[in-house]
Amino acid sequence: MAAVLPSTKTTGVVVAQRKSRTGYFLLLPGMTWLAIFFAIPFVTLFLTSLQAPVEGQSGQYVPAFQISNYSDALLEYWPQFLRSFVYAGIATGFALLIAYPLAYFIAFKAGRWRALMLVLVIAPSFASFLLRTYAWKTILADEGFITSFFNFLNLLPDDRILNTGYAVVAGLTYNFLPFMILPLYAALEKIDPRLMEASNDLYASAFTTFRKVTWPLSLPGVVAGTLLTFIPAAGDYINAELLGSTQNRMIGNVIQTNFIEFRDYPTASALSFVLMAAILVLVFTYIRRAGTEDLV
């Protein structure tokens, strides 16, 4: 008996260990993917951002520790950085304004149309991002209906929408809208309707119910949605390239120009890193402010 007990125990431990190893095996594909397509390029990109040019050989760089790549890049391109965050911020705001009522409707009022509406939200993504952005060129064309309408009201300083900041923000809002709607919907859909009923029963007005019950409970969705919209929007360059003008270039355009046109890989890498760092800082501040660390 005494001899048997320990052995049973050991078997139990082995099984448990095997189970935990299985867990690691399951992680393997994901970790490999991350290592190959994120960790290694990340390190290479960082090393590239510190490289120095070879005298007299354009496009050739050697490993170095040239911190000035960063300060030079920032000094030269701060307007584009600023513009990227402003555009992305405005687009995120608009996306939230459009997405919240829609997600609310789908979650609480759509009934049997719910699945269909969700499909409709995602449906445009079946067409390429690029083609959809091209379509906006037609929608916002000078001779088009929308521009004519706003011109009739005399609301456009340049008599046009296309190739202005308005068009870029509109494109960003549109292109990243599904990333706002889906997390909002997921958060709203989880809310127990009985909580709203209870609030109603306690004589709260519809607005108070929204303010005290629905909105706080949907905050994780708001935070996730704004992040999923803001981050790609800040780094986007297609909207600025196709819908903007020379005055509306964003940081993505500048990075692209440095990589492709100038073959200035260190500057482009440094810009990419500054963009990442700036987004990280903004995101952390935002999450802290929103007080939702435990919700995300």
């Binding site: 050989q57 690029l130 073959r263």
Partner: protein
């Protein structure tokens, strides 16, 4: 690394010829990402200057891979095939993979640069590159010497293009198409805005009545060539100070909002949708837009450029490549291509052949220019790499990058 789906881009190009940029096509679909990876993985090793040849598999492999710019080959509108190319395939049995994946000289170079520097085959037997990029390839030893005996038709090359600075006797390159950068405009809209029927100078292009309704090309040489000429300088021979003055003139027009956008081929879509009235653009594109559109060279001169066929080092089907070059230097074939692409045809005798296809095109000054027209154009000065980089930076800065 080629995650930029040439087929997809080609399909888009087919579908929306007019709205797709030949030079700077939607630098999207992860090209930036692809380039990032390409440069992140590639260690820079100094390029050799001697082109290396690979074992030529042409005799055993009836294949040819050809990379060209979009909308640069005659197309059968109904079937979507390329008639002249089909003819070549059926008469020689060489299976040609024709890919429209050159959208921008720099972007294409970024894609294949690592392989070239490391002395590897880029999987293409012919690439088509603009003069200055072709010059860089030849100087770096990325292009193989052509066997002119295998291209007897190359004697048909028009004299004006027979000798160029970067390839004095054309031993590495053969022109595919040439063209002009000049003034393109929508005739009725131009008349409505300014009362003029045509544009003849950059003064007229920068007329305040056209504010926000003009674009210029993102190809630095084409735009700056026209501006240098406008300021009274010679685009074939100018100084740094003159270039900087031209940049200032451009900046002024950009900052005032006169210039709406700086684009690659996208300007064609913008002209088509009438967002833009006048442009600095490319001859063939504007002509292809139709009767409402006009093209002219500014009185101060336009630029003349050539896109050249090169055989990359280590290409595996060199003889097949030379066969196809020879085929397209047959005047009859060249005329067929010219009747579709509307660019300057580099083949002597094609004008006579064009009489049979379309007599109106046979007299076109843009496809078969007279000496007078050619004399009013400049070939942009050949730049060293350092100059190129410095000028490109100034140009990009002036245009918002």
């Amino acid at each position: 690394m080629n995650s930029h789906h040439p087929e997809a881009i080609a399909a888009i190009a087919q579908g929306m010829r007019s709205s797709v940029s030949r030079r700077r096509l939607l630098q999207a679909a992860g090209i930036g990402g692809a380039a990032m990876l390409a440069t992140a993985c590639g260690t820079s090793s100094g390029g050799s200057t001697q082109a290396s040849a690979a074992e030529d598999l042409s005799d055993t492999e009836m294949k040819l891979n050809w990379s060209n710019w979009p909308s640069y080959m005659d197309v059968d509108e109904e079937t979507g095939t390329y008639p002249t190319l089909e003819e070549f395939i059926s008469s020689t049995g060489i299976d040609v993979t024709y890919t429209e994946d050159v959208n921008d000289n720099n972007e294409f170079f970024a894609k294949v640069r690592t392989q070239l520097e490391q002395g590897r085959d880029i999987g293409r037997d012919i690439v088509v590159l603009t003069d200055w990029m072709a010059a860089q390839w030849i100087q770096s030893g990325y292009a193989q010497k052509l066997d002119k005996a295998a291209i007897p038709n190359s004697v048909n090359l028009i004299p004006r293009l027979a000798a160029v600075q970067f390839d004095i006797d054309r031993s590495y390159s053969l022109p595919w198409q040439s063209g002009f950068a000049g003034l393109g405009y929508n005739i009725p809209d131009l008349k409505a805005a300014t009362g003029k029927e045509s544009l003849t100078s950059l003064d007229e292009l920068f007329d305040p009545a056209l504010k926000g309704r003009i674009t210029v090309l993102s190809e630095m040489r084409d735009t700056m060539g026209c501006i240098l000429g406008w300021l009274g300088y010679n685009p074939s021979e100018f100084t740094d100070a003159q270039f900087e003055e031209a940049i200032e003139a451009l900046t002024k027009q950009v900052d005032s909002g006169q210039i709406r956008q700086v684009t690659g081929n996208d300007y064609i879509a913008a002209m088509d949708s009438r967002d833009v009235i006048a442009v600095i653009g490319w001859s063939g594109d504007v002509i292809a837009l139709g009767e409402d559109f006009g093209f002219s060279l500014p009185e101060s001169g336009g630029t003349l450029w050539t896109d050249n066929m090169l055989i990359p080092s280590l290409a595996q089907h060199k003889k097949n490549a030379e066969k196809v070059m020879n085929y397209y230097y047959d005047p009859e074939v060249a005329a067929q291509v010219a009747s579709w692409v509307n660019y300057l045809c580099p083949v002597e005798g094609a004008q006579a052949a064009m009489e049979k296809i379309d007599p109106a095109l046979a007299t076109s000054e843009w496809i078969f220019p007279s000496a007078a027209v050619l004399d009013s154009t400049y070939v942009f000065m050949e730049l060293t790499r350092e100059q190129n980089e410095a000028y490109e930076r100034l140009f990009q800065k002036a245009t918002g990058n």
